[in-house]
């Protein structure tokens, strides 16, 4: 038998979520291993641009058992600080991490799972997918239609403007990544055009405090997946236009426009060597302004009903987004010396090795608040997975507790219940027991 590589739980990914789950499992005395394709905090080390800082302030950067204790609670961690923080966390929780261990496949096996890596095949009764929600750039189909002279780049490969030639750049997408990259590249002296679709506008600070302070205090970040009207839509909402800088600056479209970035509508097509932009820019900006004002109204109302102490500023309203009189609809990239298209169009998780019928017709993982549609399989860190904060570092704590509880109960149930007398089928005992259990579980999950 190949029980040499057997454990109760395989956690895939040694980022903040996987490590937090490891801490929970250790505390519950559950045998487990954390498989990491590279080093701890690998994607923070290798798949982020140089100037990136967290969008959340230091006081919010906390995990069960470790929190920021430095002198700048309102600052924003650089990537090297995030890596150090997660490295520290791995030591604090003494996680059994196997680094440089890529998972090649996860298959269903005997009512549990077989996790194959280069070196070893692991058998586990449960698997936790903690390998990140931002692994694969989500490119629109028309990204392949660009003329060959135009360089296509994703934020995963982008490091700094020195990588670019001196021609201009079209940044596609105006979420946090898009506005940050547009800003950095414009400041490098290159011309930047930013294609803007639906977006979330947010000031960095409001009434003297970080916007995250209000969202946190009001419980917005704790809103649960099963309490919102349309969770599919909520999970697709792009990240707000925020940047973490020591100056705590706001980075909205007006700021970009004032620095010379040209804003255009959503990228709609590529035809005759020209890119086309939607005529809906005005509406997308008006919607973002309306939503921003609704959020500020909500914050003002909340402040009115709570004792928030001193040092809170007066209510503010921000200037409406300035949309060019005639946003450009068609641009010949070559003729206008735009050499690069940077696709800030979002990311999706990478589950190519997950060989289970756990996906919907659009290839998305089917899960109910992180409880995947396959017994004993769990996800962590996905957008709005259980709560609005699920994809944030500090979102791991509540999700790990909920899913850890569920996982441990699952392990107990599948150990104790419905075991057939092994003497009847000595050779097949283990197998038979697991089949019975998974049938019972499937019935329970319906």
């Amino acid at each position: 038998m190949t029980l040499a590589g057997a454990t109760d739980v395989v956690v895939i990914g040694a980022g903040h979520s996987g490590l937090a789950m490891s801490r929970y499992l250790s505390a519950a005395s559950v045998d487990h291993v954390v498989l990491e394709r590279g080093e701890i905090a690998n994607s923070w080390r290798r798949e982020r641009w140089d100037s990136l800082r967290l969008l959340t302030p230091n006081w919010q950067t906390r995990l069960p058992g470790l929190a920021y204790r430095g002198p700048v609670p309102d600052g924003f961690m650089t990537m090297s600080e995030v890596i150090a923080f997660i490295d520290d966390y791995a030591k604090v929780v003494s996680a059994p991490v196997r680094t440089f261990t890529s998972v090649n496949s996860v298959t269903a096996e005997d009512g549990g799972y077989q996790v194959s890596t280069e070196r070893r095949v692991w058998r586990a009764r449960a698997v936790v997918l903690a390998n990140g929600s931002s692994s694969v750039p989500d490119l629109p189909p028309l990204s392949t239609a660009l003329p060959p002279s135009i360089r296509s780049l994703t934020p995963r490969e982008y490091r700094n403007p020195k990588q670019l030639d001196d021609r201009g750049v079209l940044v596609v997408g105006a979420s946090a990544s898009g506005v940050q990259l547009a800003d950095e590249i414009q400041r490098s002296g290159r011309r930047v055009m930013l294609a803007v679709g639906e977006h979330i506008r947010m000031p960095r600070t409001y009434r003297g405090r970080d916007i995250q302070h209000w969202l946190d205090a009001m419980g917005v970040l704790d809103e649960r997946f099963d309490a919102v009207d349309d969770i599919v839509r909520a999970r697709r909402v792009p990240s707000p236009q925020l940047i973490g800088t020591p100056e705590r600056a706001t980075l909205d479209l007006n700021a970009l426009t004032s620095r010379g970035v040209e804003i255009v509508g959503r990228l709609a097509g590529v035809a005759d060597r020209k890119v086309q932009f939607s005529g809906s820019l005005r509406n997308h900006c008006a919607m973002a302004d309306l939503k921003l004002n609704r959020l500020l109204d909500r914050i003002d109302e909340w402040i009115g009903n709570h004792d928030v102490g001193r040092g809170v500023g007066a209510p503010e309203r921000f200037a409406a987004t300035q949309v060019p009189q005639h946003p450009r609809l068609r641009v010949d990239l070559e003729a206008e010396r735009i050499g690069t298209v940077l696709w800030a169009t979002g990311f999706r998780p990478d589950y190519r090795w997950l060989q289970l019928p756990a996906f919907d017709r659009k290839g998305r993982l089917k899960h109910d608040g992180g409880i995947v549609d396959a017994p004993g399989l769990y996800a962590l860190g996905l957008n709005f997975m259980r709560r609005r904060k699920s994809s944030f570092i500090h979102g791991a704590e509540d999700d790990v507790r909920d899913l850890g509880d569920h996982l441990v109960a699952y392990l107990r149930r599948t150990t104790s219940s419905a075991a057939p007398p092994t003497s009847t089928f000595p050779a097949l005992g283990l197998k038979a027991r697991h089949y019975v259990d998974s049938a019972i579980l499937r019935a329970q999950f319906r």
Binding site: D230, A268, R282, L329
Partner: protein, 186 residues
């Protein structure tokens, strides 16, 4: 008179069009037109639109009479079907624009038309407008126009007519290329 000297008559005053082209080349300001429509809600999804005035050639202009159009949705949408669906008006606009273009181009090329018939079909996935799947667009996924043309011309010349009518069609441009749209509330 030889056959080649015969002037085709498609009811299009090409001389006037060419004259207008020359005049507007000389005075581009006069080429600036504004097209208008107004629409009033009746009840449910039923609305009534009218067109009469427009601006062009440097001054206010008017159709001979006010034209009106009822728009609604069919009964399968739980509507009362008091008129064509708005998306069908788009198809009407495209087909009639291309057809008018064919007549004008044929006249200019001295091709006599006997009949021109366009059939238009456009696909739409309702998962878009119903908000079921945000990857599905609200509008048409594609539009297909098929012309049956009987004319004193070769197949190639008829194909060239149809191609030229697309090249010079306002509605073809409107549906194939993005347009900035602003919607305000007074």
């Amino acid at each position: 008179m030889s056959a080649t000297a015969t002037r085709a008559d498609n009811g299009v005053n090409v001389e006037a069009l060419l004259g207008a082209r020359q005049a507007l080349t000389d005075t581009p300001a006069a080429a600036q037109f504004k097209w208008r429509a107004s629409c009033s809600w009746v009840r449910g999804t039923h609305s009534k639109s009218t067109v009469q005035s427009f601006f062009g050639l440097g001054s206010e202009q008017s159709h001979r009479t006010e034209f009106s159009f009822e728009a609604d949705h069919p009964e399968v949408f739980a509507s009362e079907d008091m008129g064509a669906t708005p998306v069908e008006f788009v198809l009407v606009g495209l087909a009639s624009c291309l057809t008018a273009g064919i007549a004008a181009v044929a006249q200019n090329r001295n091709i006599q038309l006997r009949s021109v018939k366009a059939t238009v079909e456009a696909g739409m996935d309702l998962q878009g407008i119903l908000g079921i799947d945000s990857d599905v667009r609200n509008g048409f996924d594609a539009i297909k126009v098929v012309f049956d043309i009987d004319a004193d011309a070769s197949k190639e010349d008829i194909n060239a007519l149809v191609a030229q009518s697309q090249k010079r069609s306002a509605v073809f441009d409107i549906v194939t290329n993005p347009t900035n749209v602003s919607v305000e509330v007074r």
